[in-house]
Symmetry: C2
Subunit: 533 residues, 2 copies
């Protein structure tokens, strides 16, 4: 499978990155130009939106009560619009969703899973972390009173694992990180001292380079990376320093660079330095859907749930939405002056809609990623108790791709729920073709390679394949370079009385920040049109 | 000053490291031998201590109610000893200490500071973070119900600053980290492609090396580190990606390696990969002294506060401690069969005590580090609101050395207290020679270089120089290689009826873990002696 052959970083970062590479490569000249204009703001979000001017009683129908839809509803109502929201599901939030004990989830195909997690435990099938630079999400959390706590992305004591690496024995992140850094520092220092960098680096800079490599790579005085206090103080000790007469540490043996290289475990060292995964990251206390719930309280009374949109028609006077109630009955028409449509393109592309050819083509052009997550409950937090792993992520080239440990309730004595798999692409299809119980069983089998305690401590699980989630049918809009160049602007431009929003209408695909910024941009443009009409 | 000329990492890590280097360099053969014996345990702490056997009513007097003393008291009482603890101060905890609004602190010399912090805010003058590998501290927290939360050590969005670097303009950690990594990856890749590593690295390994450098260093397809989506996704964008039609990012311009090198800001990139500063770190919710308070509850009734020890005498039958009450009155004698003395050597070396020449020499041999911390309250959390810095540490070569932002209550609207200075060595002496208000003023002046908001938002501060703290007279025992070799075992060995404990009797100087492990080791040996007598 493609993911397994691919060693470059964790799936989500890579996915986001590739999407952006695709997005940008075609337009370098434009960005150069923007940069030359001195665009100084680091973020495109600079605080609460101001929609000035009177919409004079204009009405808007918003399709979808995910984050994009609810932000549009809150802000447009505040600006004076008459707002109604139509939501397919029986809850708000869309992909911002948490599963808890007692919850039932029925996927496309009809299989229902009932979650058995203990009280207070949860699993986020969708978004699960918030970067410090996602200013809009953070600001809405603040304004809506959603408490945040740190999400641990990189844990130096977590595991990195490859089936063909080190006889299949999981390694500690800290050891591979130290040995890779030390190995390349030693190589570069050696080349420098042998005069091989004389063309590239001036003599004076070479001296500072050597000094920096020694400090940064934990090299000894002779510029080698070898078993020592210095290297054990990065990769970990064979026996830790202690107290009294049982105090002396013993050092651990580093892995040679050639073995680190061939293990390919270096591919897991990148994630924490990526912009979206750098410290400090956050999660809402109690589950990601605390954001959805807080927004839902704000728009209480505006949302009609269980309302399936089957057609979107516009004319010179407004928009008419055909809605079918989940409880049955005849389809109804909902009228408004304007429409903000936040439905995923995977859904929207199947709905009858009279927009112009450019937007129609854009809607049909963007495929959606398949992805699957598995949440597993265990009888005790053995990863903390036995292995001193507190939060963070272990990576593997097994189909589960990663195991993420809860970034909350550290040291608590009861059960714990971890993310037991997070995979994309063909594997996600293959995996979710299995019955739910079988998916959980496989996640357990694979995970037991990293944590043998899995077998004794397992206590229930649930799986969500996004391409099988009703109302989503995919994880996120999977843009390519070519598709962005051809369709992105057409997707975002207002078409008559309709404007689209959601993560798919952003340069931050698959992130809540993309959904919110897209929504704010869309309603700003819509509002300008309304008040200038 | 020594610290200012020195670029290798943050003061505390360097200090701990140097102490350990000193400790170990003389005894490499011994560690090799231990290692060859297959000492497998990673930690010297393997769960609650078991003191088996009946002490038959033996009594013990414990000097000092810091962490070492209170652990000894808890565990020896549990094992059946009659325990009393003598504490100089009017509170338990020793260097495990937090200052809050209303607290008064009088340092040696007589100056009293009154803390004006808002309710709920605090400052830890002593220990302030707990590594994941400090298993004993974490286990005591768990057993005593001390809630923990993550302490953010490395924050990619925090600042790194040098007076002579980049015209004195603070840089973001993420940018320097990305540019250093990218710069050395490019250098090494170039050397590899030019065949300059052919002797050192086999052809097949060279291919993987190049692939790894490209991923790890964010190199472009031509193996250069240059302005691009890839590098902005590490160092940060000039303008972040957004949503809708305002979405396109603009890239930031990397700093050339030669400029990163000469800035010396690379010296701040090491800390987070050191064993004691790796993720996941913790702090007690509400202040470090939550540990002290929890232990004090356990030993309630055993501790006599305000009790100054002026002499320690032993004979064949037991130990006699001369105690002077802070309230005045005649000195008293406290008798016990055994003594566990946890007083800092800075204090103990000034107290009359009849131990053998080896222990006496050891007690007199270890100087104590000087250090100073300044806690500053501000009217609002401008570092979060204006600069999106959530927790973590900014580093500078100014005398304040660092600014650390609170790892808790993220996004809260009220005031905030940060660590405005943490310095060691000569500067600490120089600084604490000033009146307290002047120290705070200087910390403000220097800190304003990194955060101009300091001037408008300042709302009170407090400073603690450890060499001026009564009952401590120093930050920690500052071992050297030679001193360890000559004195460490003599310091830790039981002398007649007396055994010493504390961070100074450990290989983890200046950390609470050292104090606890030292105490557990000391009382284990003492107990064996008692039950085998």
């Amino acid at each position: 499978m493609a993911e397994q052959a691919d060693g470059a970083g964790a799936p989500p970062s890579r996915r986001a990155l590739l999407a952006r590479i695709g997005a940008v490569a075609g337009g370098a000249a434009m960005y150069q130009a923007m940069s030359a204009l001195g665009v100084a703001a680091e973020s495109t979000y600079s605080g609460p939106i101001r929609l000035e001017g009177d919409p004079r009683g204009a009405s808007v129908v918003i399709l979808g009560a995910g984050l994009a839809g609810m932000v549009a509803a809150m802000e447009l109502r505040r600006a004076g619009y008459r707002v109604q929201v139509l939501e397919y599901a029986d809850r708000a939030g869309g992909r911002c969703w948490s599963l808890r004990g007692g919850d039932r989830y029925t996927e496309m195909g009809g299989e229902t899973q009932v979650v058995n997690f203990d009280q207070g435990l949860y699993f986020n099938p969708g978004p699960w972390r918030i970067p410090y630079n996602h200013h809009a999400v953070l600001d809405y959390c603040k304004r809506l009173g959603v408490a945040l706590e740190p999400f641990v992305q990189v844990n130096y004591n977590a595991l990195v694992h490859g089936r063909a690496a080190f006889g299949g024995k999981p390694q500690r992140y800290r050891a591979i990180n130290a040995d890779y850094q030390g190995g390349i520092a030693e190589l570069l220092a050696k080349a420098t001292k042998q005069g091989k960098l004389d063309e590239a680096v001036g003599k004076q800079d070479q001296e500072i380079l050597l000094e920096s490599l020694r400090a940064w790579g934990a090299l000894n005085a002779d510029m080698t990376y070898a078993k020592s206090l210095l290297t054990s103080d990065r990769r970990g000790f064979e026996r830790d320093p202690g107290g009294g007469l049982t105090a002396r540490p013993s050092f651990s043996e580093p892995v040679a660079l050639k073995d680190v290289l061939s293990s390919r475990l270096w591919s897991y060292l990148v994630t924490g330095s990526l912009y979206e995964f750098q410290t400090t990251m956050f999660q809402p206390v109690g589950g990601m859907d605390m954001i959805a719930k807080a927004m839902a309280r704000e728009v209480d009374g505006l949302v009609r749930y269980n309302a399936k949109v089957t057609a979107i028609r516009q004319d010179g006077n407004g928009v008419s939405i055909t809605v079918q109630d989940a409880g049955g009955g005849a389809p109804e028409q909902v009228r408004a002056d304007w429409c903000v449509c936040t439905l995923p393109l995977s859904i929207l592309s199947q709905i009858e809609m009279n927009v112009g050819a450019p937007m129609a083509a854009a809607i049909g052009a963007v495929p959606y990623s398949a992805s699957v997550k598995v949440g597993l409950q265990f009888k005790r937090r053995f990863w903390e108790q036995d292995e001193h792993i507190y939060g963070g992520i272990s990576y593997t080239d097994l189909p589960i791709r990663m195991i993420s440990y809860p970034s909350t309730a550290y040291g608590s004595p009861g059960k714990g729920v971890l993310l037991g798999a997070y995979a994309f692409g063909p594997y996600a299809y293959e995996f979710t073709a299995l019955p739910a119980a079988e998916r959980v069983r496989r996640a357990l089998d694979w995970g037991a390679t990293l944590h043998p305690q899995y077998r004794d401590e397992f206590d229930g699980g649930v799986s969500v394949g996004w391409h099988r989630v009703p109302g989503a049918m995919g994880c996120n809009g999977a843009w390519t370079d070519a598709k962005r160049a051809e369709h992105y602007d057409n997707l975002c431009a207002i078409d008559g009385r309709i404007v689209l929003a959601g993560e798919h209408a952003s340069y931050i695909p698959a992130w809540q920040e993309g959904a919110i910024l897209s929504s704010l941009d869309a309603i700003s443009r819509l509002h300008r049109r309304v008040v200038s009409a």
